[in-house]
Amino acid sequence: MDEPRGHARWVRVSHWIGAASLLVLAVTGVLILMVHPRLYWGEVGNDLTPALLELPISRNHQHGGWDTPRPFFARADSPVSASRTYDIFNQNGWGRSLHFLAAWCLVVPGALYLLGGLVGGHFRSHLWPGAREMEPRVLWHHVVEHARFRIPPASGGPRYNVLQKIAYSSVVFVAAPAMVLTGLAMSPAIAAAFQWLPRMFGGHQSARTIHFAAFVALVLFVIVHLVMVAASGFRRQMRAMTLGD
C-alpha cells in the first residue's frame, strides 16, 4: 500500500485548531467548574443535595453560606429551600461565552476532520488498529517496550504503532465525541429539542460529570502525548506537525 510520508496538510491544520480550542476549553472549563465545584449523578444536583464529588478549587468549595433551610412540604423528607448569603466567585459572564466560542472552533473543524478522515480513508489506514495489531502478544510487546521507555525515533507522521493508534482513536472516536455530546446535553435549548440526549447519559448532572471525566482523560492524554513527543525528538516532531516534512 502506498504510504504517504509525513502528516497531510489538512491533518496538521486540524491538529492545531483542535489543540488551540482544547486549551481555551480547558481553561474556561475549569473556570466554570470553579463557580460550582460539586459533581453529581442523575438529573439534579445543587448545594442543598448530596454531591458525588466536591473539588477544593475555589473559595466556593463548601462555602456554607446558606440561611436556615425551609421545607416546601409538611413532611420529614420534604425538599427544602434556602437563600444564599455568601458572595460566590463567578466569572461565568465571560467564561461561558468564551467556552462556547472555543467549542464552535472545535466542533465545526472537528466535524470536517471526521468527515475527511472517514471518506478519505485516513482513519482506516492510519488510526484504526488492525486485528493483527490487537493480538495480545503484539500489544504486550509494545506495552513492555514503552514501559522500558524504548521509544522509536520519530518518523514524522504515520505509520503509528498500535499504542499510538489506540490513544489517537480513543481521543477522536470516544473522548472528543463524548465531550461534545455531554456538552450539548447540558444545554436547556438542546435538551428541549432532543429530550433523549441528557437521558442517554443518565441525566443532566450525569452528563456534566461525564463531561468532567472526559476532560480529565483528555488532560492525561495531552500530558502523555507531550512526553512522547519530547522523548521521540521534539524538534523533528514539531517540524512534522507544522511544516509537514
Binding site: 438529573e43 425538599p79 437563600s83 461565552s97 467549542a103 471518506v119 436547556p188 429530550q195
Partner: protein, 252 residues
C-alpha cells in the same frame, strides 16, 4: 469496495443537503442576536442562529412528576425589601406587607392597550402548571413545580401588535433583560405566581417571576414588575444584563 465508498459518500452528501435544505427554508426568519457585534459573544451569536435555524421552535422541555421535586436554592436577590436600596425596595416592602394585593405588573410598548395587571388579574387568566428543571449557569440544577399564566396569554390580553420583536422585562431589583418572540410565544414560558403548590415564596421572586425553560436559569427573572414590548433591541442600559457583563443568549 469502491461501490460501498461511493454509497457512503452519497449518504453523507444527502444528509448534509437535507440539513441545509431545512436551514435554508428558515433562513429568512432568522437573524443574528442583537449582541452579534461583540467578539466575545460571537460563539453565542452562532449558537442563537443555529438554535433558531435548526431546532423545532415549539419543542417542549421535559416535564417531571411531583415525586421528582427537589431542594431548590434561592440565589441573587432573595429579599428585595431588605437588599434593594432604591424607592423600588421601599415599594416592595409595602407590597409584601399587604400580601401583594397592591402589586401591579405594567405591560407597555407595542400593545394595543397598555395596562397593568394585579395578581388576581393574572390568576383569572388561563393557567398552566409544569414541573421542570431549573438549569443555573453556575452549574447546579433543581426541579420545581411552577404555576402561572403563559407570557403570551398576558401579552395577548394587552393586545400585542404584529411589529413586536422583543419583550423587555424589568424587575424590582432593577435588572433588565429581554426575550425574542420565539421564547415569548413558547408555551412553557410563564409568568409564575405559584411554586410547589403554594404562592411563590419571596426568595424565589414573589409575587411573580418569569420561567423561560429553554434558556439558562438566570434568564428566568425574579420579581418581574414591568414588561415593555418593542420592535428594537433595548439592552437595558446600566441595569441590563449585557452592560453587567452577561451574555444575552447563553442557551448552548
Amino acid at each position: 469496495m469502491a461501490t460501498r465508498l461511493i454509497t457512503r459518500r452519497r449518504a453523507i452528501v444527502a444528509g448534509l443537503a437535507s440539513i441545509g435544505g431545512v436551514a435554508a427554508s428558515r433562513l429568512p426568519l432568522v437573524e443574528l442576536p442583537p449582541t452579534y457585534g461583540n467578539l466575545l459573544r460571537a460563539g453565542d451569536a452562532l449558537t442563537y442562529a443555529a438554535h433558531r435555524l435548526l431546532l423545532p421552535q415549539h419543542a417542549l422541555v421535559r416535564e417531571y412528576t411531583l415525586a421528582d421535586l427537589t431542594s431548590f436554592p434561592a440565589i441573587g436577590t432573595t429579599s428585595p425589601a431588605v437588599s434593594v436600596k432604591t424607592p423600588l425596595g421601599e415599594q416592595y416592602r409595602d407590597w409584601q406587607a399587604g400580601g401583594f394585593r397592591d402589586w401591579r405588573l405594567s405591560v407597555e410598548g407595542l400593545v394595543a392597550t397598555p395596562r397593568t395587571f394585579s395578581l388576581d388579574d393574572l390568576k383569572a387568566l388561563p393557567s398552566r402548571t409544569q414541573i421542570t428543571r431549573h438549569t443555573c449557569e453556575e452549574g447546579w440544577t433543581a426541579i420545581g413545580q411552577w404555576t402561572g399564566v403563559p407570557l403570551a396569554t398576558v401579552l395577548e390580553a394587552a393586545g400585542i401588535l404584529p411589529a413586536a420583536r422583543f419583550a423587555v422585562l424589568h424587575s424590582v431589583d432593577d435588572w433588565v433583560d429581554s426575550l425574542d418572540m420565539s421564547d415569548v410565544l413558547h408555551p412553557q414560558t410563564l409568568l409564575a405566581y405559584g411554586m410547589n403548590g403554594r404562592e411563590l415564596p419571596v426568595p424565589h421572586g414573589a409575587p411573580v417571576r418569569l420561567r423561560v425553560e429553554r434558556q439558562i436559569g438566570s434568564k428566568s427573572m425574579k420579581y418581574v414588575r414591568r414588561i415593555v414590548v418593542t420592535d428594537t433591541f433595548d439592552d437595558g442600559g446600566t441595569s441590563g444584563s449585557i452592560q453587567n457583563g452577561w451574555a444575552w443568549y447563553n442557551g448552548i
